[in-house]
């Protein structure tokens, strides 16, 4: 697996002043990660145990030179937070969003692709923690082994990271997997209809 964050990476925590952000932010710092700042609109100028808080990602980056962000914000704010980080030049974003815990989330649809083992790990997590109905789509069902696919370079290598393997793992975890994006959408529509 590629190493994205090391001891030299400067990390900001979007949502540092919130429960999850503070808990994980401080644990990361204690472990040795350079947590150089936090972002919470309206709380700029304060600090969390000495870590300065800024109103925007752009301000945090300007003050600290941060190049990675850990996002711990409510699901509704997650996509805006990611876009804000990207717009400010952050090159690596980790977004932990509690869809399982969010009372307003009724079902979860997950899109994955060939390469790596994130979807298999997600399947384990889903088995152990997720009670909400799910549908999924894994891109790359017909991708030839060893070929980089798309501008993000997804790849099946050494027989690992195949779409079939991921689909099997997710199905075993109770996720309804579609053969194409349209089918995944149809499965989600059925799920929503059945729980309404």
């Amino acid at each position: 697996m590629a190493i994205f964050v090391n001891q030299n990476t400067k990390v900001i925590v979007q949502g540092l002043t919130g429960g999850q952000g503070k808990y994980h932010g401080l644990r990361n710092k204690a472990y040795g990660t350079q947590v150089v700042g936090g972002v919470t609109p309206g709380k700029g100028g304060t600090d969390v145990e000495g870590i300065p808080v800024f109103n925007t990602v752009a301000e945090a980056v300007a003050a600290t030179g941060a190049d990675a962000s850990f996002i711990a914000v409510p699901p509704k704010a997650a996509s805006a937070a990611i876009l804000e980080a990207a717009a400010a030049g952050i090159r690596f974003v980790v977004c932990i969003t509690e869809f399982q815990a969010d009372p307003e989330t009724d079902a979860i649809i997950m899109i994955g692709e060939i390469g790596g083992s994130a979807e298999e790990e997600a399947a384990e997590f889903i088995k152990a923690n997720v009670t909400k109905p799910m549908s999924a789509y894994i891109a790359g069902v017909t991708a030839p082994a060893g070929k980089k696919m798309g501008h993000a370079g997804a790849i099946v290598s050494g027989g690992k990271g195949t779409a079939q393997g991921k689909m099997d793992a997710l199905r075993a975890a109770g996720v309804k997997v579609g053969q194409n994006p349209t089918e995944a959408g149809d499965l989600m529509a059925e799920i929503i209809a059945s729980i309404s």
Partner: protein, 108 residues
Amino acid sequence: ANFLDIGGGANADVMAAALEVINFDQNVSSIFINIFGGITRGEEVAKGIVEALGRVDLRAPIVIRLDGTNAEQGREILKNAGIPESKLVSKPTMLEAARAAVALSNGK
């Protein structure tokens, strides 16, 4: 089937260049353009297709599914460009367009 990624945010030039690259391959029997644009804009894709058809004699027919950002605008541009159905056909969904592209390919 072969796969070409035009990349997010592709403009008319990129779309036209992509079609020219595809046209070099003698084995291509139909071209399926499948767009659900987020940062990619429908009118840019459409302009690129119109431009490519003007620059180059594309051998293979195109089936296009154009959805997402500015898709309506893109579809209008294609409709008003006066392209014969033998060269370009537009389908509303990915699956319909894929089937049409396969049918055209098998017909050759």
